[in-house]
Symmetry: D3
């Protein structure tokens, strides 16, 4: 299933350690169980924060990586809190992408006025780095790595975007089987989520996953978007990905099960 | 707080018994605890369904009413499954509205291709009946009831609309204190939700309420929409309705609580 | 790949003969080559029109069916030009759906002020009939046919909708291999498209298919939408349905192919 | 009504003196009359302009402040015409926010291709500075000011945005009682609005306020938006903020007043 | 400028007398002054209303017609308050359109939950009747009138639509020169607008016209929408229809006038 | 038709040579034939690319210019691949705009995650430079050129935007007569489009132009958008720009031509 030249199948990029877990952690764990080669790139250390340190954060990220079973996790050390979509950061991220050579790139997509501006800048920066990954004639800007074209870009939207987005298409991955792994990975970030906060996070994250999964008939789902319509070669196979029916009015006017 | 001529403060209208509970049941229970006079109008009996009967359904609706503490519940007997936005149904609903004389009308707003076309027709019919409620010179069409103008219309959107709506405004009510009542009211509809299905409904309904509440800092919320922007006389009071902050990244860069 | 109880895999419903061909004819032909059992339901005869007759139109529809290789085509004889989303029409269509028992239902979705109001009414009617297909206890309204739940609904949007739609999700099927069949099927409708008009239709239809296919890297594509996000169990397989890249700026900063 | 740690209740931030007046001046005046502690931050001097100077502009801003009755107005001296959302500017604004410690932050939200790019950059910068306001461990970047979390962010949209926004929610404040103060404040900016231009501004500003107020039944209103749904603890109180009815068809089918 | 077969250039259709005046009255008056042949069709008498009668309403409509200078006004007598998009009404309206043979049809487009459901039904009915106007072989349904194709459909949106519309395109007509005529025409409807109400209507209608005109640099404008992009043969001529600039920040950084 | 002070009527700005051709090349050629004075500004050389060089690219751009008949083409030498919306670039572009003094500015508007981030940055930069063009008192930043206000801004959207835009208005120019010139101009870019790729480009570009033109009845069209509604002084003239009818269902229920 891999495409020629790929080293990894999927790489997810987030501004801070725990962003990837929050938006698509269960999907990454699922991809691993499905045999795909998966990687995570954290753009910044996520520090400083009130109760964290770079060392602590790195250990937490490593623990979360293990919980998800993701073999590769890289932190490229861009500046936290002041992350900007600028050429230097693009070069840094693209260099790593040219090393990992993914077929699919997952970018966290959001502008979050209740949280860090790094999210919006990281979104733009990741889009740009995807393009830079394929650039020729500028090998020196990319530490000598060879060009690599990443054919597929996927957005992982955060739930608290400043404005409603007009995505061309959205899809939901059934993460019922790996949702507990996601929660366990989040639990690793103890410097960010003390027990009381973790319960709050767990409550909301579980709720969101239940709500996102429902329209497709999944107990838990993670939502993604694309910069174009989904491409399909087989309509029936595509639509049969969703299970039969939503839970809202399952009794009324449904056929008896037995 | 009541306006002159009101008999009730709030009336919620749904096509089938259980629709009102599913979309805004916890809000209705909350309004009761806040001292408002609340009523429910079911447009149809909801029957036939596979395991229901008119009598059974009526008993379930009455039980749910008691759980929510809502003093008034009326079923106007329009035809289930073939509900249409037509003058006769509008007259029937408007007559009841002229009797109950609410200040606020909640209409379930949705087009649900996975469920009954009654939802879309009921939405249009409820909007029309609100207008009919105030009509003069046609008392004979309204069983002699006097005209009543309903100043406020609120939409209760269902989660599985066929298309994304462009509401002018949305708001979320904090239903943390009455969410259990909502679940208990839904549990009354045993003919529609057998134990296995109820667990599914509970899972999804809880998830949705957690997800809707989160942006406003509520443990559980119910979402509403308006056919115009929210009107406010006090900006600070309005925005302070939302609690401080979302749960997504509560640790990072937040102030220590202590 | 079929689900228990299905007689057909896919049924496409259009108001007039030639509507299904115009919106998703190439996809239907492709599904046939992929081994799926496909059917077409025409809601009306499409007559009267200036140069047609019911007999002529039926012959053209039959010829088009053969070109597409679709084994089943039914005309349920609802009234052309005055098609309305009403219970009787819903019963008629649902009865046929309960006979054909599809797993996937394709509904033409549009409101076309430059063309017939039948399109909008047919859209609503098809959604309703999908729901009616599963109804119990009303067998007499459906000619004794047993209930059948259709798990998957797909919209085939027309290009000239009165307003831009906010679909939850869109997808494009690669119809490069069957696009000629679509044109050939359209050519069968000589009473509607004389040679000069057919050239115009061909020009525009080819253009639209090229434009729809491009974002997914297909020479020709047909666009569909869903009333919910696409459901996926395998993110990589889903996104790899789209070919690598768009044609707009293929030279610039792309890697040499060789 | 103040929250612990607040020095001000509301701070409005605009790129240039007069921006705050144009978008939400009447609301600020109203808040003052309602007893709230209100402040204005101007990001730049607004100069150079054809007929202005820094001194003149400062005097005009001070005069406008007095007209509105706003006790605090600060100009943080970021560069006009080349305002960029960059870390240094964010630090500057956040430092001021940590001094003023508002509970509600109003940000002018727009991208205005007919006017200055400062509007778009200022919008992003204000969102970022709100986040920076709460940052710990970086006191040196904020002149030693202590962290302050601003729980509520409100957008004041300008009327000439380049694209239509998809706000989660909009609301309108009834500014009938303070609209004249807004006009009087704008009249202070004589270097920007000579008498002929002021008449044009007055004509349009009055028109916009009448049009924004109408859906909520207000003679004059100012429109705001939120990055999330409005949060409400009392549905009836929320919706009763809007007065009864719109002016468009007030006679037809309305009850006689007397 | 007329097209072959036209009897009128423009016909505007509204559900009740005064609807056309409220949405596009100034544009109709302007078109008359520009030499176009203009007509108005009222679908219903607008009665009953609290203070009106059919005779009174007809006199008011006639007076308003004279104020606007529109030579043709027809009332086709469909039922007020219970107007439905049904075949009979479509035939009635299409018959009149086949008599008047317009080149451009203006339809009032809205769903107004604060006002009559006739608005939504009238919108759908007018779209359908436009199509019916060209039908062949059904002359008996159209009182023997010959088919007439209406090439251009324009929407006149009302300001209080239940949801925000996604129009393909909007345009604003400069009605500065005829805005007083619009107000004078509205003043004719004394049964609907007593002096106090008329002042309110005047306030809001003037405000809306000022707000709609502003983005195009007009003192007063009326907003329209199209079911497709505007078609242009000359880009420069098209965009030069808008005057230079908006009034919001006319002083700042503008060139001195002198 | 020119406005006082204009040197050119229309200037189109694109990030790389060939961008202007791809989005609006046929319209520029048409404007030339209509007698307008037209110019092109390329922001960067477009180099490096795999098979290009600065010299080669310049020759190609010059050849394309000749094919389109556009008299003026300027390359302002901003950095390719790392184009950013920054003050220096804005000054450079604005200086050129103050020399060319256009009445209409066409900006390529898009965020293209499948292609260069230069597109998004170039869009923002062009909007800003339009504003800078009119600035007074900063002549030294603009090489002594006098201020020039550009009254009209037009967006040329690319087909592969990351998200669907909510334009206020869109319009389509009939480019049937100059579409071949557009293809010929694109053919000049041999370093970017080798013969195989050119065929792919031609296929897609022709398809898109056919699809864009169709709703307005044009064989080929180019799509544009505006940051405000279209302004019109004559409604009939505006709507008659679109030809009669779409090609989708031209036979059915249309009048016979003869």
């Amino acid at each position: 299933m891999s495409e020629p030249g790929d080293r990894l199948d999927v790489v997810a990029v987030g501004p801070h350690p725990d962003d990837v877990e929050l938006t698509c952690g269960a999907t990454l764990a699922l991809l691993v169980t499905q045999g795909y080669r998966v990687g995570i790139i954290d753009l910044t250390s996520g520090e400083p924060t009130p109760r964290g340190s770079e060392e602590l954060r790195a250990r937490e990220a490593e623990a979360a990586r293990q919980v998800l079973g993701v073999p590769v996790r890289v932190n490229i050390g861009l500046p936290n809190r002041v992350l900007m979509d600028e050429p230097d950061g693009r070069f840094r991220l693209a260099t790593e992408l040219r090393r990992l050579r993914p077929s699919v790139l997952i970018a966290i997509a959001s502008r979050t006025p209740a949280a860090s501006p790094d999210h919006h800048q990281g979104h733009l920066l990741t889009e740009a780095a995807r393009f830079y990954s394929q650039l020729t004639k500028w090998d020196d800007r990319f530490a000598g790595t060879p060009p690599h074209r990443i054919p597929h870009l996927v957005y992982a939207p955060t739930p608290f975007d400043a404005e409603r987005r007009n995505w061309h298409s959205t899809f939901v991955v059934d993460v019922t089987d790996t949702f507990e792994q996601k929660l366990a990975a989040l639990r690793c970030y103890e410097s960010q989520f003390d027990p009381a906060r973790f319960e709050m996070i767990k409550h909301f994250t579980s709720g969101r996953a239940a709500a996102e999964g429902a329209p497709c008939g999944y107990k838990y789902g993670e939502l993604f978007a694309l910069p174009h319509p989904v491409g399909a070669t087989d309509l029936v196979r595509l639509v049969r990905g969703a299970k039969d029916g939503s839970p809202t009015r399952p009794g009324q006017d449904h056929l008896p099960m037995g």
